[in-house]
Amino acid sequence: MSEDIIAEIKRDYIYNLAKNGKRVDGRAFDEYRQIEVETRIIGNAEGSAKVKIGNTQVVVGVKIQPGKPFPDTPDQGAIITNAEFAPIASPSFEPGPPDENATELARVVDRGVRESGAIDLAKLCITEGEDIWMVFIDVYVLDHDGNLVDASALGAIAALLNTKLPIVRYKLGTEDVPLPISDLPVAITAADIDGEILLDPSLDEELIASTLITIITGKDGSLAGIQKSGMGPLTFDQIFHITDLAYKKAKDIREKYLEIVDDQSREEGKKD
């Protein structure tokens, strides 16, 4: 009961702040919490990254194995994305198979990578109709303080950027080569709180938002994915406003956290 009252008070507090253009942690509406990206942290993975956005933490590991192609795409590699809401991350996460929220997260991250064309799947064919590379992208949420989508999507691309095909291990050649990455899609999530649009919602903000919407944009500024999630409706004006915001913010994040990583990876790739 008392929990409900605290929730109520918190809700009113956040609402009132938002009405006055403010947020609990002092950020502007279009401001992200501090972002940290650390890569190559899991030695047994072919690629990996840890992303923090504020207190939110996710680890993304990429494993690559040879496998059979799908019957309808005999000459293309496969991407399999999974998200685990590890129960260490939140009192509301329970052990068990992914629920609808984890499933949605995995599918949004997956489409962000797949449909944006970030990975050139045709280059992941080993022998047409016989063998392809299967790219497993596994997202583990370690600490959930809101905006899991942006953290996970950023982690996925950062991990893919430092991923190498395990060619030597599977005796398919003498050198492991980097995964061919052709775009750097970035997901930007906005929350609608009583008509106000806030980027990078914290967990408290998410809980009272009427809806969330994620906009994924590519290097060339085009939209590469959208997912509205939540019960509240949005107006057309809101959606155009959010796509504008998303485009700008994605550019910043891409430059700051991915293009640097990309360069580093390629540098280190040469050294290996």
């Binding site: 499933t103 939209l223 959208i226 997912q227």
Partner: protein, 240 residues
């Protein structure tokens, strides 16, 4: 893949003869099931689906009840034979996601506070699939909810728009979806509130704006079909 056609749009006409802003043929019938509290059968081109509504009814187990409003559940399911390659019966990750966003597409118009401690179940069975099944499910469900007498603020209408051969088109077929550049399902209320929005592929900002405009038109047409279907069922009643 070898069976990609050279062109999906030729001289403004799509492979099935439609113009870029045209919907596929629609058939909609209300009240097709006896046991369900509300039901609707819908065909949209090669799609065939049935939506059924049960409720409001009691929630079991009781700890799932909500004290101040009705719970909405939505289950989208594809029959094993609805697609070329037999699908294993039961939910998969795709259907779990579609069920979630479809529920969220319909929930905003339902007057949830009318039925505290209850649940409304919406079940959609896709019998035959040819792209756009989630929009068919939402459209049919919206009508089935009305058929069940669930009090609503309005009807939700849904369609997909996308980009095919560089053009923005309405209501993609499976072939257009496979070989097109973008697919964007959308649902909205008559007063222009968006309740579902997803997009895969690539769209410039200009194309996106164009797609949204086309979607508005598509949903308007869908709405007219939904309205007619409801009227034709209740004509007798409304004439009284």
């Amino acid at each position: 893949m070898s069976d990609k056609p050279n062109k999906l749009i030729e001289k403004g006409k799509r492979l099935d003869g439609r113009k870029v802003d045209e919907l596929r043929p629609i058939k909609m019938e209300v009240g097709v099931l006896k046991r369900a509290d509300g039901s609707c059968y819908m065909e949209l081109g090669g799609n065939k689906a049935i939506a059924a509504v049960y409720g409001p009814r009691a929630v079991h187990p009781r700890h799932l009840q909500e004290a101040t409003q009705v719970i909405i559940r939505y289950r989208y399911d594809m029959a094993s034979f609805s697609v070329k390659e037999r699908k294993r019966p039961g939910p998969d990750r795709r259907s779990i996601e579609i069920s979630k966003v479809s529920r969220e597409a319909l929930a905003p118009v339902i007057l949830k506070e009318y039925f505290p401690r209850s649940v409304i179940d919406i079940f959609v069975e896709i019998l035959q699939a040819d792209a756009g099944t989630r929009t068919v499910g939402i459209n049919a469900s919206s009508v089935a909810l009305a058929d069940a007498g669930i009090p609503m603020r309005g009807i939700v209408s849904s369609c997909a728009v996308g980009k095919v051969d560089g053009e923005i088109v309405l209501d993609l077929t499976g072939q257009e979806d496979n070989y097109g550049e973008a697919d964007m399902p959308i649902a909205m209320t008559q007063d222009g509130k968006i309740t579902l929005l997803q997009m895969d592929g690539h769209l410039t900002k200009e194309e996106f704006a164009q797609a949204i405009e086309l979607a508005k038109k598509g949903c308007k047409q869908i709405y007219e079909v939904q309205r007619s279907a409801l009227i034709s069922k209740y004509e007798g009643v409304s004439n009284v």
